[in-house]
């Protein structure tokens, strides 16, 4: 199912910065992957850099990737090629691009290459209805314009902006603002959360929605007249580091309009704004 990705390299630059003992290499490539599935999938799992996704019209996933590799020495630079790379898999169902290799053993290997990093800036165009699941970790933002399919997007140290959505599944950051804007009233449940950052949820007038809010330190402002909603206590059970953990929580509930899908909205240090689409 794998395709060898033949890439056109627009530019290759390798230079040694003697002052910083750094070796860098930058290149940009583009590739289009035809898709046949009714709801194709896009998976991007990045570490350093931005992910930007837009909706096109063609039945293909078009990718442009700007790659900048750097290492403290030539030796580590060569090692970085084995430990940090972009693994691309594509078929008629969609495209998966993962920094590292698509198994669980690679990211620990990255730690062997101390001081090495590879920034990937993704620019992707997908067909309408694509199921989008994108993430990055640091020094980057997530910017997605949805187009019919459900969207999952996550960042660790940076913002997440998802707009023109029809439905979402999970939108989250750890240290960054999260902005989620719907083109229509959502029909599916969704989780939106960040630890340190504001959350802005924009929905059209007339939207029916229930939301479970867990906003610890911050204000909650709505452009809609909301009704308080009593939610049942929620109990989650998991096994973590050899112990059984039970988490019990009761979120503050709100209802927009006559209610609808349930959104879980969590922020520890940040405000929540619920806005009406202009």
């Amino acid at each position: 199912m794998n395709k060898q990705v033949a890439l056109g390299f627009f530019a290759v630059l390798a230079l040694a910065d003697k002052a910083a003992a750094a070796v860098t290499d930058q290149k940009t490539w583009s590739q289009s992957f035809p898709v046949s599935a009714a709801m194709p999938r896009l998976l991007i799992d990045n570490i350093w850099g931005n992910v930007r996704v837009r909706i096109g019209t063609a039945r293909e996933i078009a990718v442009t990737v700007d790659e900048k590799r750097s290492a403290p020495s030539q030796e580590l630079f060569e090692l970085s090629k084995q430990t940090i790379f972009l693994d691309v898999k594509a078929d008629g169902d969609g495209v998966a691009m993962v920094v590292g290799k698509q198994d669980d053993t690679v990211r620990p290997r990255i730690n062997r290459c101390r001081g090495c990093r590879v920034d990937y800036q993704f620019e992707v165009t997908v067909p309408p209805g694509t199921q989008i699941d994108v993430s990055t970790v640091t020094d980057g933002s997530i910017d997605v314009a949805g187009g019919g399919g459900p969207v999952s997007a996550s960042n660790v140290n940076g913002p997440v902006e998802v707009k023109d959505l029809q439905d979402c599944a999970q939108i989250e950051s750890v240290n960054g603002a999260v902005e989620v804007a719907f083109a229509r009233a959502p029909s599916r449940d969704c989780s939106i959360k960040t630890i340190n950052g504001d959350i802005t949820l924009t929905v059209p007038g007339g939207t029916g929605l229930d939301a479970a809010l867990s906003v610890m330190q911050g204000s909650v402002v709505s452009e809609f007249d909301l009704e308080p909603l009593a939610l049942p206590v929620r109990i989650d059970q998991r096994k973590e580091e050899g112990r059984f953990v039970y988490h019990i929580e009761q979120a503050a509930g709100i209802r927009l309009g006559t209610g609808g899908p349930t959104f879980s909205i969590e922020s520890l240090n940040g405000d929540l704004r619920i806005r009406r689409s202009k």
Binding site: D91, A169, I235, Y246, I248, G253, R255
Partner: protein
């Protein structure tokens, strides 16, 4: 795309969907209600790693009513009532208050050690009633607006409640109980050799209840209160204890005037100390 990574993502997506489905199901049970609605109690049964063996329970929550009851059982049943948080939301028609959203609680178990913690702010009061096996070591702590109640436990207890009362009845084991501004009442079913029992409060009365046959050496200290006993105490002659400490060029002198009395010929030491309260040594069944 059929890779381990993708399986992971698929599994995560399924988990998310299941979670979302659960939340959706919960939301369907939800109804608009006044913001002052109180949460209903929820009971969780925690299996122990080694059922039938002694266990320990640690609870450390800023504002909590904590009640622990020893029973003939091999698991732990925790009934939790979360407080109604008061979350304000600003809307076009003015601010509205929402219930919930204020507090969460985490219970964990490993190797027969059960821990209950919360990161809820101190304004949110949580009520916990834990039913534990009778043989249990307890370490319970709260600060505000709470009460600690323990009964029918065989084991060592450490109980701390800064601004609330502590009541422990039918305890077989050592008890260390500390409060600052409220009374302490401890009833021992027996005095255990080798255990260190100490009850201290700054501004509260202390009542220690013992069986008629209990053997103990009582060290009683109240600066501005009185002492009352159901027992005939054999008071030993003692002198005020004076400690002198020199540090940083200064000298501090501390004087303690402790009454030492034996009960039924003496036994393990039990210390009882309050600054502004009464000490009562009561006999069980009286």
């Amino acid at each position: 795309m059929n890779t381990a990574k993708h399986f992971t993502h698929t599994a995560l997506a399924l988990t998310a969907l299941l979670g979302a489905a659960a939340a959706f199901g919960q939301a369907k049970n939800a109804t608009p209600v006044p913001a002052t609605a109180q949460a209903q109690p929820e009971t969780i049964t925690i299996p122990l790693s080694r059922p039938g063996e002694p266990m320990s329970l640690n609870i450390d929550i800023l504002s909590a009513h904590i009640e622990v009851i020893g029973e003939e059982r091999k698991d732990v049943a925790v009934t939790v009532t979360l407080s109604s948080g008061r979350r304000k939301i600003v809307t076009p028609s003015g601010p509205k208050m929402l219930s919930g959203g204020g507090s969460g609680l985490e219970i964990s178990e490993r190797d027969n050690r059960v821990s209950i913690e919360s990161e809820a702010p101190p304004t949110n009061r949580i009520t916990i009633v834990a039913r534990v096996p009778r043989r249990a070591t307890l370490n319970l702590s709260t600060v505000n607006e709470g009460e600690i109640i323990v009964r029918d436990v065989v084991g060592d207890l450490e109980l701390e409640n800064i601004n609330g009362p502590i009541t422990a009845t039918n305890i077989t084991g050592s008890v260390i109980a500390e409060s600052v501004n409220n009374p302490i009442a401890v009833g021992l079913a027996g005095v255990v050799a080798g255990g260190a029992t100490s009850l201290s409060s700054l501004n509260g009365d202390i009542t220690l209840t013992l069986p008629a046959s209990a053997k103990a050496e009582l060290h009683l200290d109240t600066s501005r209160g009185e002492m009352v006993s159901d027992f005939e105490l054999d008071v030993k002659p003692s002198k005020p204890r004076i400690e002198r400490n020199e540090s940083r060029g200064g000298v501090s002198v501390r004087m303690e005037d402790v009454i030492v009395a034996t009960l039924n010929g003496g036994g393990p030491v039990i210390r009882v100390k309050t600054l502004n309260g009464t000490i009562k040594i009561a006999q069980s069944g009286r």
